[in-house]
Amino acid sequence: MRLRRRRRENQRLMPIKNQKDPARGVFTRRALLFMAVQTGTLGVLAHKLYQLQVKDGDRYARMAASNRVSKRYLAPPRGRIVDRYGIALANNKENWRALILPEETTDVAGTIERFSTIIPLDERDRARIAREMRHQRRFVPVMLRDFLSWDEMARIELNAPSLPGVLIDVGTRRVYPEGELLAHIIGYVAPPNERDVAHSALLALPGMRVGRSGIEQSQDEKLRGTAGSVEMEVNSVGRVMSELNRIEGAPGTEIGLTIDRGLQQKVLGRIGEQTASAVVMDCRNGEVLAMVSTPSFDPSLFDSGVSHAQWIEWTNNERTPLINKTVAGVYPPGSTFKPAVAMAGLQSGLFSPSDRIFCPGHLDVGGTRFHCWSRWGHGSIDLHQALKYSCDVYFYEMARRIGMDRIADTAHQFGLGTTLDIELPHTRTGLIPTPTWRQAHHHHWNGGDTIVSGIGQGFVQVTPLQLATYTSRLATGRSVQPHLVRALNSEVGPQATADHWPELNMPEKYLTALRSGMFAVVNEQHGTAPKARLSLPGVTMAGKTGSAQVRRVSRALRESGHFNSANLPWEYRPHALFICFAPYDNPQYAVSVVIEHGNAGADAAAPLARDIMTDTLMRDPVNHVTPPPESVADAGDIE
């Protein structure tokens, strides 16, 4: 007891003496060691923090900025396509769709899976989404579903918290209010394929479309516009907190066509069920006012994807609905070629309009007999009569004498067998054959080839648009090019004025001779196309018939006297053609009509051309700034 008390007193008097308590000494030393370690480690952390915050601060600040700014590209609206009066032919309609931004969701597959429980996705959708995901960068949104209804949109909005990265966006869908009426001219659009996207990053945006035919294809670059972008502050689950910066893109250019929608409709109505093509042109400046090819197709079917059965039906149809026959259909021009041959003859200096040729009903060259369409012949006739009666022998003889090269040269000047500047894809050039061309294909050019070419048969092939261009050039003496684009964003281009087009290198007197011959065809007694005579007061028209054989008529059949092409099966009947321009004394409009297997140009094509020309003259689209009322047929409008 005493001992203990003494010790207690000792300790109370003396300060801590570690030596007296080994346990406490060890503890203190080791605790001090701990304190040093603690200070050291927190010091290291403070240093590390200094590096992160101050030394590398700029780098992380930049990362922070990109972290919260999400840049999204805005697809520009595709330009409209309108007719010459501004009536919409191709338009954009609102289309609500659901997109997913892969970079804003940590679990893309899971999000899509949850989405599909709200809005079902079929196998085709999934395959497409997977494909787009693979090929696109993470900041480009991928479309999940489009054409959403209000109800579906509400369901997505309601489930938004479980769908990070999913956004609803209003896009546009291409609509063609006129449907089949202008399908060949306007064409259609389709989603871009991988090759398109490789060419233009703009096309990677959802909702972008690429023109696949017609004006939509040829004017695709202009219609597309330029993309805008919007920068948004977003949180980590992709919810937009605020919009920081917006750069509006430029919408696509509005393309104003030369087409008069009302006239187009009338022409289509005139053609009816026939497989035919018709072109109405302003022969002074080459504006295509109507361009009809029947049968047609419904372009809206391409919007959601054409079914295989539908495609087979289209491609196997012998009436070729997908092909625009006015630019891609080639036909022997038949007798409509004769004015071109006549011009070649006149220009050669070997013929004058008054030179006469005797027609006995046939021409024998080198043991081969070439028949005139009239078995009894036309007797001794000059150029005027030759055109009026459409005498074959006259032009056989002319072709034989001047040679093929001269004919081809003149035909090319008229636009036949040449590539025209029309703003349409998939056009065909046709052919004006020459000995050189024939030899290039390792064949011998026979004299007979030149002779049949004189009446537009044999190897000669032209398109209906070339025929209309040829007629226009013949009527005005100007080297007009047919075109469909009249205005860009309502601004009319220089090609709309006649002076824009250079004069043809053909003497006016020869052109006058041809025009008068064509006038006789329609208006004089014994002309081949009396049915083409206009019934409008004070207006006359000039034209030329053509019947193009698609099969050689055997001599035996012809001589049997029972030959009547109307009795042939449809596909062997000759094509019926007619070209014309009006008014005769002051040409304004040119029309070409080709009725496939229509038999005789004078009976089938001429009346149709007359009706089309009548409609054109009554509407007179060239001299009207606004479309004339559909029902009024006021003859007073016509000069």
């Binding site: 701990f34 923090l49 601060g57 992380y60 922070a64």
Partner: protein, 385 residues
Amino acid sequence: MKFHKRLLRAEPSFRLLSKLWRISWLYVLLICTLAGVGYITLYSAGGGTPYPFAAPQAARFAVGLVLMITVAMLPPKILVRISWPLYLLSITLLVAVLHMGHVGKGAERWLMIGGLQVQPSEYAKVALVLALASWFYRISYARMGNPLWLLPPAFMVLLPVVLVLKEPNLGTATIIGGIGAAMFFAAGMRLWLIVLLLLPVPYMAKFAYAHLHDYQRARITTFLNPESDPLGAGYNIIQSKIALGSGGMWGQGYLHGSQGQLNFLPEKQTDFIFTMIAEEWGYVGAITVIGLLLVLILGGMLMAIRSRNRFGRLVALGISMNFFLYCLVNLSMVMGAIPVGGVPLPLVSYGGSAMLNVMLGFGLLLSTWVHRDSRFGESEDEETT
């Protein structure tokens, strides 16, 4: 001084007053300051409103403050007595949480007791500190040389470590192991024994890695190369680093940290709260908070050294070590220096269990300080020697 001595010898009611007087109110002020930092940061994390984080946290802190002062009044005699029941209770809770705990983030971590979320692993730390201090106090320094006397406390450490690993909460298990090791060392474990035990550690680490859960291994992998999976497992580390870095020297301003305010930061109100501080207050603010933490740690250690009884010394050291390891793991984690684990920043992070556990610890620390001159047990020590 005379007045003070008289108080000590006074009646029990006066003794309580004198004990209150002996509490280090400076230390309490520092604790309140740290909690205040937590409050204003949680206010910002809530988007500039007291709800849902700041206000409940303040209420919890008030409860914790009362708890702390109460515990500070308890003399070592009582603490030694309750240490064993507390330890057994905490082990029971750890076993219970494995069987009927609530799952959070791939780990069973909490129990619902009377409408309160309780994380047994948090209480296990405090209970272990008390139990170990109690054991080492009883066996005295002399027996530290005999490894046989160290086997029972080693088992006492390993039991909660294994149970917490099973939850599985790697971060907390590491802290528990760390506390145990620190207390063994401070209690006077012989150096030769320490060296002997450290030799097989590399082999054990290899073995441990093979038995980690997939998500724990993912943490280690992404820690080594966080950019390998920027939107997946590496997301937290990258976003956290971006937030820290974008703070710069002076910060983006209170309530204006873009990463935190725009929800890029994962768990910004709990584990990653430090990144919010660093983003809004910059390096200056962050280093101030680290300084405050260090002062609290070193203050606790000094209290341990100052104590005149072995039990108090060990308790104070264990608690300070716990607080230090908390801070170390959390700060290293948000800076991307160690794999991510669910360890909050004490007093600042949002959460009830961690807050009450920390305040309980500070209560024990202050109790040591209040009873620093009590020579509880020292005489018995010498009698046995």
